[in-house]
């Protein structure tokens, strides 16, 4: 698809356009511009490197939301063996924002659950912009229970702005569908690896994110509230989203420091969407490595380890009287 550059990418794109222009002109006139072109190319590379190695939190949020960013099914296509999708929560419906099913990756069997966004209006109507309803969370839990029954490890790929804030979602108890997953995922005796591949929008992300290992792509974010939502409440204006993004410490590197994320998975220099092959290779090897690490543990150790991981989260002081 054609990519519209993000605001901070524009200087790079402009230089690239100039270079293209130069090459086009010179080709017609048989003038040697190799030297100029090489210099420009070098300048572009320098600027690219400088820009992408110093991304602000807000710039990463924009990359995480980039319309060309690879989604769950893109990774399935790129680096999974097979994927047999299973539908429905067995009660009210099927949620296309939360596909799931049996899959293989690197020769391993997994139960895959995750969020799926759409790339155009038609797809987004189907996928609801990756915002799942209660039936999505309940389908995911049904599949996770099935995985436990058959001893199949669970892989959760997280990419959602948040659980859907709508009337029907409330009427069908979206809050409980998430809460129930938090409680039940804590008791699973099979390994669970979760990867935040794009947006980790609050409870909507955590609702399939109670895992033994939590991994995160370099430009993904994971936050208690969207930067816009935080800005609207604390700054009284959504335009302060960049400041809120910084304050929330929502990048993969920040979250690694807090011990929330076990591994940050590298992306191609200018984001996963610029090179799906590289991004999916990195994703796949990280997933396999962490499943492999968990292989030797007993079901009880798997479960206890997950609780221990989440039990320790929180920072406070406990002065002795």
């Amino acid at each position: 698809m054609k990519m519209t550059p993000l605001e901070f990418e524009k200087p790079i794109v402009e230089l690239q356009d100039q270079l293209n222009e130069l090459l086009k002109k010179s080709a017609g006139q048989n003038i040697n511009v190799d030297k100029e072109a090489a210099a420009m190319q070098q300048k572009i590379e320098k600027l690219r490197s400088k820009t992408y190695k110093n991304l602000t939190s807000w710039q990463r949020v924009q990359i995480a939301r980039h319309p060309a960013r690879p989604y769950l099914l893109d990774y399935v296509e790129a680096c999974f063996g097979e994927f047999i999708e299973l539908h429905g929560d067995r009660h009210i419906g099927d949620d296309d924002a939360m596909p799931g099913g049996l899959a293989t990756i690197g020769g391993r069997r997994v139960m895959l659950v995750g969020h799926q966004k759409g790339r155009d209006t038609k797809e987004n109507l189907k996928r609801n912009f990756g915002c799942a309803h209660p039936e999505g969370y309940r389908k995911a839990m049904r599949l996770m229970r099935m995985a436990e029954k058959f001893g199949i490890p669970i892989l959760s790929l997280i990419d959602t702005p948040g659980a859907y804030p709508g009337v029907q979602a409330e009427e069908r108890n979206i809050a409980e569908s998430i809460a129930f997953n938090l409680r039940e995922m804590m008791t699973l005796r099979v390994p669970v690896v979760a990867v935040i591949i794009g947006e980790g929008g609050s409870g909507g992300a955590l609702g399939i994110g109670v895992a033994n290992r939590v991994l995160m792509l370099e430009n993904a974010y994971y936050s208690v509230i969207s930067p816009e939502g935080c800005a609207a409440i604390l700054w009284k204006d959504r335009k302060f989203a960049p400041e809120a993004a910084e304050a929330l410490r929502l990048t993969a590197t920040d979250l690694k420091k807090f011990g929330i994320v076990d591994e940050v998975i590298a992306e191609p220099l200018d984001g996963a969407h610029k090179d799906l092959a590289v991004a999916s290779d990195n994703l796949k090897s990280a997933i396999l490595k962490h499943f492999c690490d968990l292989d030797g543990l007993t079901p009880d150790q798997i479960r206890a380890g997950r609780y221990a991981k989440f039990r320790k989260y929180g920072e406070f002081t406990e002065p002795t009287a």
């Binding site: 804030p165 709508g166 009337v167 409980e176 304050a247």
Partner: protein, 290 residues
């Protein structure tokens, strides 16, 4: 409890009243002029129309727990500022000063008609009773104590949700408290969740909706997303009574709506079904409950 303390009326959906410091105020539901003494002697329920005002955690605990049995837990925990969020420390300190509490939830052990319970009560006056690390930790410890000591767990919620100022660590409290409840659940112990006005966001999407029994105070507003967010995101028209306790009950989301004066009796009635009859009332001589 001071009779002259300014009432907190910053409830969701209620107009913020600028009543002068004084002993009289107008009921936001029926507009009757009420004296502070009438209210405080009536569990902050309007004697005329039954409107439920917010109740401080201390008054709530007194209304539920057997006299002389309350042992608070973890009131020494103090909130940190893990993200270095601007002005956060000052906000928490101001709330602590205003309420005399260390954080937005008070937890402890006690008994109800002799039944051993672990009780957590959220206090909306403290940063909208949002859940950060201390709230999550105190609740988790109270639940874990309940599991270890075979107590029923009771949590009275009122909360704006997860606390933004502690970022991802607040989000993780949802998993932590729910995980502790998983162990309590597996131990075959009862968890009774009481929803009061207002309960939203990360609180609703974790422990508050995991009760074996879920009770709600009349007309309280309960939800995941706030009505403004829903309207702005979806442009949907909100049905009448949306997110009230009555609406939630008609959609099958809560077991019963219980008036504040009946709450203790209701909870005890469930404990009679779920727990072995108590033989020893905590801190007092043995009494057999019929």
């Amino acid at each position: 409890m001071s009779f002259f303390k300014k009432l907190s009326l910053k409830g969701f959906g209620e107009k913020k009243k600028d009543m002068p410091e004084g002993q009289w105020q107008k009921c936001p539901a029926c507009e009757t002029m009420l004296h502070e003494i009438d209210l405080s002697e009536n569990l902050r329920v309007c004697p005329k129309c039954g409107h439920h005002y917010p109740l401080d955690s201390e008054e709530r605990i007194n209304s539920l727990i057997d006299e002389g049995t309350w042992q608070p837990m973890d009131s020494h925990l103090r909130t940190a500022n893990p993200l270095g969020f601007k002005a956060y420390k000052e906000k928490v300190e101001a709330s602590a000063k205003k309420t005399g509490l260390n954080e937005a939830v008070t937890t402890g052990r006690g008994s109800m008609e002799g039944y051993p319970v672990s009780l957590g009560v959220m206090d909306f006056r403290f940063q909208g009773a949002s859940m950060g690390s201390v709230v999550g930790e105190k609740l988790t410890r109270a639940i874990e104590a309940a599991t270890a000591e075979r107590r029923a767990c009771i949590i009275v919620s009122a909360s704006g949700g997860a606390r933004m100022h502690e970022g991802i660590l607040s989000l993780m409290q949802m998993a932590k408290t729910s995980g502790a409840l998983a162990m309590h659940h597996e131990a075959g112990l009862p968890f009774i969740s009481v929803l009061t006005h207002p309960t939203f966001g990360g609180t609703t999407a974790s422990f508050a909706t995991l009760g074996d029994i879920i009770l709600a105070e009349p007309k309280c507003i309960i939800g995941f997303a706030g009505p403004v967010v829903i309207r702005e995101t979806t442009h949907q028209k909100l049905p009448p009574g949306f997110q009230t306790a009555e609406f939630m009950m008609s959609h099958g989301l809560v077991d019963r709506i219980v008036k504040r004066h009946d709450l203790r009796g209701e909870i005890v009635q469930f404990l009679r079904y779920f727990m072995p009859a108590p033989t020893v009332i905590e801190g007092r001589a043995a009494t057999v409950i019929a």
